[in-house]
């Protein structure tokens, strides 16, 4: 039973537009969420994270929004660039009260940004 779900396997966006990647989770004990980006034949690269005490975190073109009541988070990329084309993984963790920090990943969403 998947605790972190990315229901869209793929997303295609025009260059310059906004990309919105979505993620849902089921375990209310998760208190830290991350997005990773992965190119073929490389390991995932940390992109941005958010603690459960916040509802938004911004870093340049990347913003993550967290809706705890809906157990939903999203990654916004604006403006999207062709170099953003990759697989994006949502991950969740518990850093307070238990876990050592191992990450629970979704299956990923493949983003294609067309010039």
């Amino acid at each position: 039973d998947q605790q972190v779900k990315q229901n869209s396997p793929s997303l295609s966006v025009q260059e310059g537009r906004i990309s919105i990647l979505n993620c849902d989770y089921t375990n209310s004990m998760f208190d830290y969420f991350l997005w990773y980006k992965k190119y073929p034949a490389e390991g995932p690269t940390f992109l941005i994270s958010i603690s459960s005490i916040k509802d938004k975190n911004e870093d340049g073109r990347f913003t993550v929004f967290l809706n705890k009541s809906a157990k939903h988070l999203s990654l916004h990329i604006v403006p999207s660039q062709p170099g953003d084309s990759a697989v994006y993984f949502c991950a969740a963790s518990r850093i307070y009260g238990g876990s050592q920090g191992n990450l629970i990943f979704g299956k990923g969403t493949k983003l294609s940004v067309k010039p």
Binding site: L34, A41, Q100, G101, N102, L103
Partner: protein, 115 residues
């Protein structure tokens, strides 16, 4: 500086063979994680080390899987009597502190194919 490195990058093993996969974490990183990524899936947690201590091995799928980090730096994941279902990419990640174990830096992975 140097990132996380893994070797070999690709490994083909015949069913029943033993394999050893190596991870060199970023120098000074306290935490080290192993993940298994099957085709079309997100990475799944296998085991966690804090320095040389293996604090969590709950994700290891069977007793054929064994991991060690004897000096708190390099780690080896060993799989005995490989089976076809062991075919996957094995990812190693390290993190600089126990306080922020979630911000993990991944290596490129070892793709294991069991024939």
């Amino acid at each position: 500086g140097a990132g996380v490195s893994q070797s070999p990058r690709y490994k083909v093993a015949k069913r029943g063979q033993d394999v050893a996969l190596r991870c060199d974490p970023i120098s000074g990183h306290v935490s080290l994680f192993w993940y298994q990524q099957a085709l079309g899936q997100g990475p799944e947690f296998l085991t966690y080390f804090q320095n040389e201590a293996q604090l969590d091995k709950s994700g290891l799928p069977s007793d054929r899987f064994f991991a060690e980090r004897p000096e708190g730096s390099v780690s080896t994941l060993k799989i005995q009597r490989t089976q076809q279902e062991d075919s996957a990419v094995y990812l190693c990640a390290s993190s600089p502190s126990r306080e922020r174990p979630n911000e993990q830096y991944f290596g490129p992975g070892t793709r294991l194919t069991v024939t």
